[in-house]
Amino acid sequence: MSLANQIVNLLAALLLLIAFAMLSQRRILTLIKLLAWQGGALAASTAIVAYSTGQPHLYFSAGLTVALKVGLIPWVLHRLIDRLNVRWDIETLINIPATMLIGIGLVIFAFALATPISQMASVFTRSTLGIALASVLLSFLMMIVRRKAVPQVIGFLAMENGLFFAATSATYGMPLVVELGVALDVLVGTFIFGIFFFHIREQFDSLDIRHMEKLKQD
């Protein structure tokens, strides 16, 4: 394995670790920091893939990742929680060790799912697809077990990070037009989420989504 390859593997592992850290984290500020770190790891791995495969458009998407996921979005989230004055500890639906165990189960599931694919991947990194899938599922789990609106959104963004990692590291990056579109969607989505926080608080006096159970299944 080449050095670049090894570094990408290391970053992949780091991404997974951050996904778990997010799952175990109770503080919302730390969650935002972790999200920024995840974006950083993502950008670094994209840049390395760009360097070693010589695809200039990946440099561009690495830059985009830094600008959006390390800079803009965490900043927006910081501003939001400042404005909303929400720095509470997050309540979880299931206690954290149990969540972790479910998380391990998900990772094993993801790896099992990805193994037959990784076997045939003669490409740059064979491991990354499984790790990307695992971090997507972990973010999904985080969205499920968190009760407040902001952590759910952070979970959504982390899921997007996992997907982006799959796109850049497992497949050399999607065509540029797609990447741009995805980035735009995420950005617009974050802003809409931000607007929604205010609406929700205005209507429910809280960002706790337990209040939003009026529309029952019936």
Binding site: Q6, A12, L14, F20, S24, M100, L101, G103, I104, S127
Partner: protein, 316 residues
């Protein structure tokens, strides 16, 4: 390798470990004092303490059984044996094949059982309390420890610690994400097993929080000295295991006298670094409530399992 040289190495290492362990303890304490803006005690303070304790008369509770008297020796013996197994200075020592990582964990477990039994032996409430807490931490820490070691074992294809170190020390440079996970997990286990902050505080006797100190409250004089010494050797052994697994460069082969000075120098440098890092960690972290200890250790277990999974997926 001829046998006599091997035995010489083994003896040398064993003696070195026993003599150097209190020094490491002193170094950690000194670093911690510096970091906390206190006047640092001498590095040699643990030696003086041991010497002082050995010169005192032992006081033993009337109801104490022979187990209580026996335990300090068992503890000391176990730790010494563990330190003898770990390739500290050289690989391929004569004792090394006799024990692999599973046996190593077993030796630590044996020591744990004895200290818990001895703590309950007197029948004081503190002893029972400490023993229960120690077992709680132990049963969570052990699987994490085993998983960590297994990750390294998978990489080198053997559970022999000396083979693992040989493989890891003499490979071409490669980044192992799985080892990074395992390293983080190992660090957490090390903190928990050696009664350091954030799980236990080695310097406090506050009944609400103490774990290890509660167990040895009834010991005095030479028994206490042996236990303190064993504790120092345990920390030393854990650190050398960590060094052996995660930064094994510079270790000598048994019988290779020329490599020995370099190996000792490398080891001392690494230990000094590790001790300072430990002190830094202890200064930065706050002690966790006891009820959060399972969470801390399950995180360690999780990391270790992740490391193993990563090993299988990444093949690295």
């Amino acid at each position: 390798m001829n046998l006599s040289a091997g035995i010489a190495f083994q003896v040398l290492q064993s003696v070195f470990v026993v003599l150097a362990a209190p020094l490491l303890m002193g170094w950690v304490n000194q670093c911690r004092a510096w970091l906390q803006n206190r006047t640092a005690p001498s590095v040699l303070l643990p030696y003086w303490t041991l010497a002082k304790l050995f010169h005192k008369d032992a006081v033993i509770a009337r109801d104490a059984s022979p187990l209580f008297r026996l335990t300090p020796y068992v503890l000391f013996g176990c730790m010494w044996l563990a330190a003898g197994i770990v390739p500290v200075l050289a690989t391929g020592l004569p004792f090394a094949p006799a024990a692999d990582i599973i046996a190593l964990v077993g030796v630590f477990a044996l020591a744990r059982v004895f200290s818990a039994l001895a703590a309950m032996d007197i029948g004081t409430s503190f002893g029972g309390l400490g023993a229960r807490r120690e077992m709680l931490i132990g049963f969570l820490a052990e699987p994490a420890m085993l998983m960590t070691l297994f990750t390294a074992a998978f990489i080198s294809g053997s559970t022999q610690l000396t083979t693992i170190v040989d493989t890891l020390a003499h490979r071409a440079f490669a980044i192992y994400p799985s080892l990074a996970f395992a390293g983080a997990a190992f660090l957490m286990v090390l903190l928990a097993e050696n009664a350091r902050i954030p799980i236990d505080n080695p310097t406090t006797h506050l009944e609400l929080t103490m774990v290890h100190e509660a167990m040895i409250l009834e010991y005095s004089a030479r028994h206490l000295a042996l236990i303190e010494w064993a504790v120092a050797i345990k920390l030393f052994a854990y650190m050398t295991i960590g060094i052996a697994l995660f930064m094994p460069w510079g270790i000598a082969a048994a019988g290779d006298w020329s490599a020995l000075p370099l190996a000792i120098a490398a080891l001392l440098a690494k230990l000094a670094l590790a001790g300072a890092a430990l002190a830094l960690l202890e200064t930065l972290l706050a002690k966790l409530r006891l009820f959060l200890a399972p969470e801390f250790l399950s995180a360690a277990f999780l990391l270790a399992v992740l490391g193993m999974l990563t090993h299988f997926l990444v093949q690295a």
